[in-house]
Symmetry: C2
Subunit: 512 residues, 2 copies
């Protein structure tokens, strides 16, 4: 019997007559059952009379399957395969658990993403270089577009497009360009082999070919094909858009339709989000699994957690680079600083790199090589985050308060809180978030982490948990990548000397 690792793909092809109308809306269903579990999966057409169905089993044991291809005549096939235990780095798809991510099998997954929007649309040699660079990088998630990208530094024409054109020269979404989709899959698979999640961007506005203006029905057909072909890859995430709010041909109702469509068609319920430019997409919608936020106000990460009660991914907070555009010219230090700030606020941050090059090969869009200085520091941060026992629970910010909350407060504190309630929403927001310039969190009483950001005190009062436990206190330099134990066994309040420079974190870990 065929053996398939849990979370890997069981794939079957059937040859049949070519579809007559649509190469997308083919009537090919795979039914997979085990015990009292049954999953129906739609297959897809791959050209040359080949119909393919893919299934990602999530349960150990023998699965029975039945395939039904209804093309002119009914073709069926049935059989069995055994789902065996996953091995090595295969922990299944990424899922959410409260405000954090993890792998489906429960293994730790802390996303450290990067952005390479149009890497699959580049020449073969460059794609290979990108894969090679990724293989040596700390990144385990890539934001990438299905459609090619047209923008400054993105002037080259891709070799392959996702659809064929009809007689009038218009894109025919019912005629997928199989070469393109095989190519896309090859790259998704290449990422999977590296343990990297493919945060697949389904729509975006940077377009000179017309893919951003297909219309509601064509968009749904396109999404249908995406889900049929790609959903079985465990490393797929669905990102409805990059900057949904600048894809002007798609309105609010359409995004809802698309989200619900994917959510219902994707039997694996892959992570699903929608990325903004201005207004954070409403992550309270039940089909949104996590926030995928573009913002320069990364210090609001915890606020979004509190608001949506879902994991918060700051998927764009500007890029390390030196191009003219504001979003693409922060320093490497600032990039690393933002990663630390966002993570201590209980969120996740995404990298991008935009160093000007005359050959226009910028990592953020095309991949290739990384030239910046943030990556190794992000790797340093990743190592620390992996060592922490339990995810970071960010501390409440100073002004996230409730004057009626029963807490010991003095007269002035009460008066001040009452005054704050008289501020209008923008004034309060400006004051509250203008005050959030250092960041602290903890996991129960296991550790306390304090990232001081661009503040650079030479001394702080570290308040350890009010228990009788001892803590090892380390001072971390996020740029120089050093960790120094400054107190072996600390308790209570601890006066700490610090280097007095930007980019310092303090980690106090309970001595076990």
């Amino acid at each position: 019997m065929i053996q398939i690792e849990k979370y890997n793909i069981f794939e079957r092809s059937i040859n049949g007559p070519k579809p007559t109308k649509s190469n997308v809306k083919v009537d090919f269903i795979g039914t997979f059952s085990k015990d009292n579990k049954m999953v129906e999966v739609k297959g897809f057409y791959n050209g040359n009379g080949e119909y393919v169905v893919r299934f990602m089993p999530d349960d150990l044991g023998v699965w029975h399957y039945e395939l039904k291809l209804n093309a002119k005549e009914l073709i069926t096939e049935s059989g069995e395969f055994e789902c065996i235990k996953q091995t090595g780095e295969n922990h299944g798809p990424a899922v959410t658990n409260g405000m954090k991510f993890q792998y489906a099998d429960g293994a730790k997954f802390i996303p450290f993403g990067t952005t390479i929007y149009a890497w699959i649309h580049q020449p073969k040699a460059l794609i290979e270089k990108t894969i090679e660079t990724l293989s040596k990088s700390p990144f385990n998630k890539v934001r990438m577009c299905v459609f090619p990208k047209s923008l400054f530094y993105n002037n080259n024409e891709p070799e392959l497009f996702p659809f064929e054109k009809d007689k009038e020269g218009k894109w025919d979404v019912h005629q997928p360009n199989f070469e393109f989709w095989n190519h896309l899959e090859t790259q998704v698979k290449a990422l999977l082999d590296l343990g990297i999640e493919a945060d697949l961007i389904l729509f975006h506005p940077y377009d000179r070919w017309g893919f951003s203006k297909l219309g509601l029905h064509d968009n749904l057909t396109y999404l249908d094909y995406c889900v049929r072909r790609l959903a079985a890859y465990r490393n797929i995430w669905w990102s409805l858009a990059n900057e949904y709010d600048t894809v002007f041909s798609i309105n609010e109702e359409d995004w809802e339709v698309f989200g619900k469509f994917i959510s219902s068609e994707d039997v694996y319920n892959h992570l699903l989000s929608n990325h903004n430019l201005t207004k954070v997409y409403d992550a309270s919608k039940p089909w949104i699994t996590h926030c995928s936020i573009q913002t320069n106000s990364f210090h609001k990460s915890k606020m979004y957690r509190d608001q949506y009660q879902k994991p918060v991914m700051i998927d764009e907070c500007r890029y390390e680079g030196n191009i003219e555009h504001s979003w693409g010219n922060i320093t490497a230090f600032e990039m690393v600083h933002r990663f630390w700030a966002v993570m201590v606020l209980g969120g996740y941050c995404t990298h991008g790199e935009t160093y000007h090059r005359d050959d226009e090969v910028l990592w953020w869009a095309k991949g290739g090589e990384l030239h910046g200085e943030s990556v190794e520091r992000i790797a340093f941060l990743k190592k620390i985050m992996h060592e922490l026992e339990g995810e970071i629970q960010p501390d409440k910010d100073l002004y996230n308060m409730n004057p009626n909350e029963p807490k010991e407060k003095n007269e002035n504190e009460i008066a001040f809180e009452k005054f704050l309630l008289t501020l209008d929403p923008v004034e309060f927001d400006t004051f509250r978030f203008g005050s959030i310039t250092n960041f602290s969190g903890r996991h129960e009483d296991k550790y306390i982490i304090k990232y001081l950001g661009r503040e650079r005190p030479c001394i702080i009062n570290l308040e350890l948990p009010d228990n009788s436990e001892e803590y090892r206190v380390e001072v971390i330099d996020i740029w120089d990548m050093t960790r120094e134990t400054v107190v072996e066994k600390a308790t209570g309040k601890q006066l700490l000397d610090l280097p007095g420079k930007e980019g310092i974190a303090v980690l106090a870990t309970k001595v076990s």
Copy 2:
């Protein structure tokens, strides 16, 4: 005939019987007249039977005066003095003119302030050191408190207090401590001699003696004495409070009463403001001459200009230093960066320095010596600002837009602007001000100044005014304090290579 320079003080004393009830509310009036101008000024009691009146003439020529002291019996005196033209650095008091400041005689005055809250409450040697340091500094305004200050690093007891105590040990505001007031005046005069404005803070919350809780009537008596004694000093500014919103014993109505009181009693209409912690004090009130703002959101400076149509002084945007508190541990670079950003946004910025010292002598509170690295860069900026022909008119920010405004826009721009109108106020504010990370302004077509802040492009497209004039283009490094002319005669659009580091400004000046 006595000759007094315009804007200097004409002072007369009369000896009379000691006041019987209040040493503040004395009935001593000086009437100063010239041509059809007549000014009535209240005098003050200075102890030992001495009644003093001070007058700052603002008109050249012979002034006639009559003094009337009504104490038990009426004592009068009359005479004349000649007001002669001011000389040297005497340009009169600072006044506002639209969104900028200037001296009363029209001379340029660009405030470069610093903060030394409690310097007059320190030992003599330290006060002298402060004066010496100021004399070598670029600063021409000092924020300073009348009342002593109690806070961390402010634990020493002052030698002098502004009032005597009554039999019950309570402060008696009707009994000024003359030694204190003479001391205060000596320091105001010392600043005047250095051409430095005294931005006198009348109330503040950092108090262990009870001065922040005197009550409405006592507060008014105190203010009465302040105005009688100090208003004739041309370098006096009235700052109602430091952090009015944390002086909990004074409510909104009281601030209004105090502001109106000073405004009506001060015949010279010195600059008058009120400084906040959280909510900017409503500068639309007619008696407020300018905004005196504490904020970490210094990039909102232009917004406050637009809102209040008065000069905007960011009187506190955190301090260069390394103490534990967020507001006192920014780097010197960040301090200089904030000065540049605020000024290119058409505002003014105030310095402070808080380097931890075991002897607790921190510049921000006590004065002494400056230890930081921002001061010489602020001097460099000051020199550049003085060379500019005309004050900076900040450019409109990208998202301060009106979709109905007649302007050539493409379909997408219109759609985007319409979308922005759907954002709630906080969302819009977050997006708009999150986007303001470089800063540009101009004065008509005389020059364009662009400060790139913490962005660090290696290349920019400089768009010069659409005229046929030529501009000299300089690249300024705000930290290294270099100015390099990179194009002698530029016109139209100019592609500029830049150093690709933080803290770069570009200045294009019309070649005359």
